[in-house]
Amino acid sequence: MGYRIVVACGAGINTSTLGEDMIRERLSKEGREDIEVIHVLMSNIEAYEDNMDILVSMQQVYREFKCPVVSGLPFLIGTKSEKEALLDKIMELVKNLK
């Protein structure tokens, strides 16, 4: 049963890659490399929304999704502790996935 975290931003190039990178590193530390992390363009999100377990968005979200949505902004502008807090939050959601 493969779980997937989707990191989305406006271009699928810069900020979402940053988020994906940090999440991957944390998942690896916690031994959860089984969870797939990908980065996508937010405007393509309809193609992914039935196949994602957590959405981390690098932009403001103005609609509902079936899965939990988390703001990825701390990955861009947060202090070290704010980033860790966000990663902790994501790991909490990951634990609930089992």
């Binding site: 271009a11 890659t17 990178d21 937010m42 103005y62 502008i77």
Partner: protein
């Protein structure tokens, strides 16, 4: 001296797909990034560059004859081949990129310490706008150092413009502490900040609006690059007088370009960003506790519904403008992808009003189209000097784009260089 010259010559002859990974590895080790990340990232960036140049080869091969046929048949002088973010290939591949990066960082560190700027320029990826302009100026002046100066100047001024628009963007998009000093985007924001109050004086203008949801429902599919690419390919094929077979073929080629070009750029970033993290972390640690705005990519501003709604209308307007403006040479296709980012910085000033946003953006695109038309030879020469598309360029093909070909600030800097007598073109 001769030994050094030969060595440098040999090094440059390796081509950017080899040079860039080497430079990145040096940077990665210098900033103490984990070795595994540095090596994988550096090679990945080279891969992304190689892939990028492959796809632009496809674009040039497919579009150049189509655009030429269109020009002959319809008397339109839209002769430039739109390569859009392939300029990122120049940015990360030209010899002076490390200079632009490191010197801009140093200048930013000094300006932050002296409290002259609030924008902490940690968005390393977005340096590509400045590095691309630097590459253009390298082509314009034939001189690497003037290129670096231009790039650093561009990014530093961008930082000040970011300072000026930061609060407005923070408020409208609900994201505290950010600054969006990004290339062509921050200039769109500045343009909007200046012009919207003037437009508001037009009686009635203030109150016209259109619903983002209604627009999304009607034009939703147009917001998808792959669909838009196919439609544009068909339109161009018809205008070029192609038979049905060739029209459908062109439709698929343009659709391919619209989707694959950004993906290649994304691969470049996949390689670069883990290494950039080291640089970013270093800057954050030194300066994290001042009152600063953290520079972020304009991609964060695309969330508001008015952005995509305005964008799909603007796709159509951009093409119409390109067709009717006398003397314009660029038909934006791949370049349409940059429109939503401009809109993201305009909507804080139009307050999300779709009609106003469309009008302000249409006005911004007029000088951008003309600038792109004029800068194309310099831009093309930069590709030439990097050993890309030299055959087509020799035959007279010219490449162009909104970002960075149509960049107003970049154009200004190029002209200053010209005025100083530094141009060799």
């Amino acid at each position: 001296m001769e030994v050094i010259k030969t060595a440098v010559s040999w090094f440059l002859g390796l081509g950017s797909t080899v040079i860039v990974p080497i430079v990145l590895m040096i940077l990665g080790f210098a900033f103490k990034v984990e070795a595994k990340k540095t090596i994988r990232g550096a090679i990945m960036t080279g891969v992304g560059l190689a892939g990028l140049f492959l796809i632009v080869d496809l674009i040039v091969a497919a579009l150049q004859p189509a655009v030429a046929a269109m020009a002959t048949r319809m008397g339109l002088s839209l002769t430039l081949v739109d390569v859009n973010w392939a300029d990122a290939g120049i940015a990360w591949g030209w010899p002076g990129v490390a200079g632009v990066l490191l010197i801009t960082l140093a200048v930013n560190a000094v300006l932050i310490s002296l409290r002259i700027t609030k924008t902490l320029w940690v968005d390393i990826w977005s340096y590509w706008h400045g590095s691309a302009l630097a590459g253009f100026v390298w082509a314009l002046t034939g001189n690497l150092w003037w290129g670096i100066v231009a790039g650093v100047l561009y990014l530093t001024i961008g930082g000040f413009l970011g300072d000026w628009t930061a609060k407005d963007i923070q408020e409208f998009h609900g994201m505290p502490g950010i600054s969006v000093p990004c290339g062509t985007t921050v200039q769109a924001g500045v343009f909007a900040k200046l012009i919207t109050p003037i437009l508001d004086k037009i009686p009635g203008f203030k109150n016209w609006d259109a619903s983002p949801d209604a627009i999304r429902k009607r034009f939703g599919l147009l917001g998808e690059p792959v669909v838009m690419g196919a439609i544009l390919g068909i339109v161009i094929g018809i205008a070029a007088g192609y038979n049905v077979q060739k029209i459908l073929g062109l439709a698929m080629q343009v659709a391919t370009m619209m989707v694959v070009l950004p993906r290649m750029v994304s691969i470049i970033s996949e390689g670069l960003i883990p290494i950039a993290q080291g640089v970013i972390g270093f800057m954050r640690e030194k300066f994290g506790n001042r009152e600063i705005y953290v520079a972020v990519d304009c991609a964060v501003t695309l969330g508001h519904p008015s952005v995509m709604a305005s964008t799909v209308i603007l796709y159509i307007i951009a093409i119409l403008l390109a067709a009717v403006l006398p003397g314009n040479k660029l038909l934006p296709i791949a370049s349409l992808a940059v429109i939503p980012f401009w809109v993201g910085s305009v909507v804080p000033y139009t307050k999300g009003n779709v009609v106003k946003t469309v009008l302000v953006m249409a006005l911004y695109m007029i000088p951008v189209l003309y600038i792109a038309s004029v800068v194309a030879p310099v831009q093309t020469q930069a590709y030439n000097m990097m050993g890309q598309y030299t055959e087509e360029i020799a035959k007279g093909t010219l490449l162009g784009s909104f970002d960075m070909g149509g960049d107003p600030l970049g154009f200004l800097i190029q002209n200053v260089m010209r005025l100083l007598g530094l141009s060799v073109l």
